[in-house]
Symmetry: C2
Subunit: 212 residues, 2 copies
DNA sequence: GACTTGACAAACTCTACGATTCTGTAAATC
DNA sequence: GATTTACAGAATCGTAGAGTTTGTCAAGTC
């Protein structure tokens, strides 16, 4: 799986010149006034195009919702990928950056939280549409994370990595919904845990927990 | 209903003779037809008492909801306590039993899942009332678990235990909402992880993951 | 003394219905 | 290509009236 929005952007950036502005406007309105406040007419008016053009670009309102969710999910996953790119030789560092990034992003991102909320069983009242995509959030995130971790820890068994990654992903999602500390401290703790669980014996990682 | 609710009846049995039947009936109706199907008149009729007696026992419908949630939460926490009682010298074993128990219980327990769902941000459409209690689910569960783990691992730092327990609790809650495997296998993996993270160096716990 | 009965106001839910808005599609126009 | 206009069907909104339910009385019964 390629990094950043490349492959994923292919899913969102394809389309006419108005697709991106429409998505951005739709996300903005949803975040501030809720999904129900998003109407095709309003999007058209705000961007300065005709309603018909909106339909030509996004197809239907359901498709628009899907695209919005995909767009947010891309940011989410791109962030994780970026963190691992920045720390090719430092797994705890990568985990710290990834967790911190996701938590910070989620803090002021209504839509992302709605997606996570939906993943975690909630109704969210605002997007019963994202079920298709949201069902696979844990699966997708786990998959790309496991892939990245595997390259950091070639000596650790796949099963072991799967366990650690599954727990890491679910813990982060849970902290998005119910934070119990600052993003920085949560990231610190999870990074420590990842280092400890996925220690391959070669590094000099101290097993004591220590604040960053 | 595998395990009867009398385990910690002490916490809930306070009150008149009708309190328990009322709670049981309310839980039963909620599980099958939803919270809106629970009316004071219906509870009275089903038990064979007057509506006024129901009010005398539980006070109000909101109080009834609170009592129901408390009742389910007690089962939940008692299960964890029991698992640790059964394995005083085996932390992974205790974690396995606790996780397995919670996951099995949650599988056929609508109300418990509603509580967890609420904790994890969702609305659940059926109990917007449990916010008071549900907010503290993670906190409470983490607290009693940490306490238990501390007695198993006197040599491990409190901070270290807090991190492991927080992650464990959140992972379990997440698996209640979105299982990715059987309760047995999930419990197995989390027990392994707990053993690994909380290894105090004294045990001969193998660091390889192995099926149970 | 504990429980029941009947009565009651206030709040809430259910239903129905017309007005309004929105979606989605099509054709004509620039 | 994009826009405008037009339109049918669906969804939403606001309203108003009927019916339930809640929560609290006080009087009655075992």
């Amino acid at each position: 799986m390629a990094i950043m929005g490349d492959t994923l952007a292919a899913a969102t950036a394809v389309g006419g010149q108005y697709r991106q502005p429409i998505l951005v406007a739709a996300i903005e309105i949803t975040a501030r006034e809720g999904w129900s406040a998003v109407t095709m007419a309003r999007l058209a008016e705000r961007i300065g195009i005709s309603r018909q053009t909106v339909y030509n670009e996004v197809g239907s309102k359901t498709a628009l919702a899907e695209a919005m969710v995909a767009h947010e999910l891309d940011r989410f996953l791109a962030l994780v990928g970026g963190a691992f790119d920045r720390h090719p030789d430092d797994l705890p560092g990568a985990v710290y950056d990834a967790v911190r990034g996701v938590l910070d992003l989620a803090a002021d991102n209504v839509l992302l939280r709605a997606v996570v909320s939906a993943t975690h069983g909630g109704d969210a009242e605002l997007l019963p549409l994202l079920t298709t995509r949201a069902d696979t959030l844990i699966t997708e995130a786990t998959a790309i994370l496991a892939e990245r971790v595997r390259s950091h820890r070639p000596g650790v068994s796949a099963e072991q990595i799967d366990v650690a990654v599954d727990v890491l992903v679910r813990a982060v999602l849970s902290h998005v919904m119910q934070p119990s500390d600052t993003p920085a401290r949560t990231a610190d703790r999870l990074a420590w845990l990842a280092g400890r669980v996925l220690d391959d014996g070669s590094s000099g990682v101290p097993l004591r927990y220590g604040g960053r």
